[in-house]
Symmetry: C2
Subunit: 412 residues, 2 copies
Amino acid sequence: MSTTVITKIEAQDRRFALHGGDGSDSVHTSGEYAFAVTKLHTAGGLTGWGITLTLGNGNRVVCDLIEQLAGSLAGCEIEELMAGFGAVSKRLADDPALRWLGPHKGAVHLALSSIANACFDLWAKSRGVPLWRLLLDLTPAQVVALLDLSYVEDELSAGEALEILQAAQAGRALREGVLDTGYPGYDTSVGWFQYEDERVRENAREALAAGFRAFKLKVGSRDGARDVRRAAMLREIAGPACRIMFDANQQWTLSEAERMCRALAEFDPFWVEEPTHPDDVEAHRKLALSVAPVKLALGEHVPNRVIFKNYMQAGAVHFVQADCTRLAGVAEFLTVSLMARKFGLPVLPHVGDMGQIHQHLVLFNHIAMGHEAVFLEHIPHLREYLVHPASIEGGVYRTPQEAGLSCDLKEA
Amino acid sequence: MSTTVITKIEAQDRRFALHGGDGSDSVHTSGEYAFAVTKLHTAGGLTGWGITLTLGNGNRVVCDLIEQLAGSLAGCEIEELMAGFGAVSKRLADDPALRWLGPHKGAVHLALSSIANACFDLWAKSRGVPLWRLLLDLTPAQVVALLDLSYVEDELSAGEALEILQAAQAGRALREGVLDTGYPGYDTSVGWFQYEDERVRENAREALAAGFRAFKLKVGSRDGARDVRRAAMLREIAGPACRIMFDANQQWTLSEAERMCRALAEFDPFWVEEPTHPDDVEAHRKLALSVAPVKLALGEHVPNRVIFKNYMQAGAVHFVQADCTRLAGVAEFLTVSLMARKFGLPVLPHVGDMGQIHQHLVLFNHIAMGHEAVFLEHIPHLREYLVHPASIEGGVYRTPQEAGLSCDLKEA
């Protein structure tokens, strides 16, 4: 048997307590992060790791679904599997029974995310290269074969996807410079919702001193005055040259969002994030029009390429925060990134993976699709549990060199 | 302790094999129906039953989530709980950790559906009345207190909901006549996807003889010619006076849907159902424009009021197939029905409950909201497992008289 045949599939429910308000926002208060982990073992002793994020409770359900969905990968050779991964992904997404629980959203899709990421990790490890290298070495046609473009053909056919990748060959060598300079980060952990004002101030000063030039503040307090006060405070510390972003985590109704976006506009936010319900494309479309020039960012709760397509078609999103641990892994992330490129929208991932996988993906998006290298979210709270935590120096992600997707966890 | 205090909460994974192509469509081929059941037991010996439908695999995951979500109902007195059920529903839907797996969609929302239905069943049983009677006896304000209107306030405020119910008081006595005449049914089971042509013909003739005047055919074959042939066949048997509907179960891309809707238009369908992906509001909006006067029906995979709102705002749906076992139970079904009333759209439920709960809800929608009594889907395959299977005579649902939601199952 080939050493790269999948012989055993394992799901692991890994949970991590958060402390002192870390990770808190106006809506999510569990005090816990968790990864539903997929591990694909091969006869040759390789292990492909895949992850998706949850907030603790519910993680075992995703693990249960990983076991149900991934079974059919046993016996597959990884190069053969990945050569036509688009069809594999579609087959798993359209499981005749589990599809009913979505389709293409919710716990089942999170399970698929974890599984798909594990496939890519195993693939990259079997070739002994980091994910960004693996992807850059593929031809445009090979990249397109990774994608399930069903239900987005009206905006992104296989031919259009190919054209985007081919057109971006121009200037690619120049953009590869980012591999040496590193990819800029921004710091989300200065302003979690439950942090007291003084702590936010200290964190922002430290992040600034460490080299970060962009910071996020959680808003969405019942009393909007707290948001305004803290926004003023953060802008004062950041100064006019740094970027600051406000994140409401879906807390507002449409009319509250209109009021708060206007109130926060004076602090010149780079964006306002998740102002209202993530399913409500029409509310975001109206909001984008009514609070212009304030820009909207969203995506951490957009589960699939179809809804992203609707957001882009409606002009309801300015910053596409696709997350490869919410979407069906690396491949659906690439699909959304290609669509965003067509619509002229930047992709700035939400990092349900704490930036581990996304540090690879933004390099590929920049070099191979021509996406602008704006910055990548940075959240440090799970560093101690990772085998290869992302290396941030001077506010910049250093290019990862280890083989795979950099999401291996230390054993519990 | 009051006899109507919830003392024990139980989830049951109940599965039912289907035979000979029953229940098959172009996408869902599991050959199994399943209910994730919630049972709320009281000190007084009452049991509230709630159900949501799955297709087998995945049902245990929903049961797991029912157990996690419903725990907080222990110790609640049912009248107190239901007096402000809108807030209860919102609290459960916004569970600080489980919300991450949606929000408000997927397996978690199915669990909430089952739980909410069990609450209503227990409430109706504790009052000794069928659900339709319970709801009709509430004041408009009491109905509105059942609803979680968060994220739809921009189209349906509590005040607007109240006004719709108050305005519909006019003519209510007249519309109560439906309680005596019964509510018309339509027959979905004549034309399941895997049935051979001859079987469809026989079924349609039998259904016609039994009194049905509306029939559904599953379409979405890879070879569209099969769909067209069978559509012609069904129209011939049904004659020009009966209604026939075609259901593609999400099989088509937008361009395929355009082509097939045009091809099927000559058979004068009352609607074409689920032509493409249920998340793709924009595709349905374009389709509705391009294939007019063909009408679109959808909703069985629309998980919440927010997405229904977007469909209605976009003019992307003509027949609202809300399902109280996909939405968060009876209450979110009523929210969607009120929105549909505002938009002037008929509600013709998809019956994930085999029509058991919906036979109550369409009576309420007609009498108390003024919705037209068009017809209710009928699917007979689980009759033998139900304690009070719906009574259909002459193609008409007879008004149920048993207390509760009529979804008690015989013990396995």
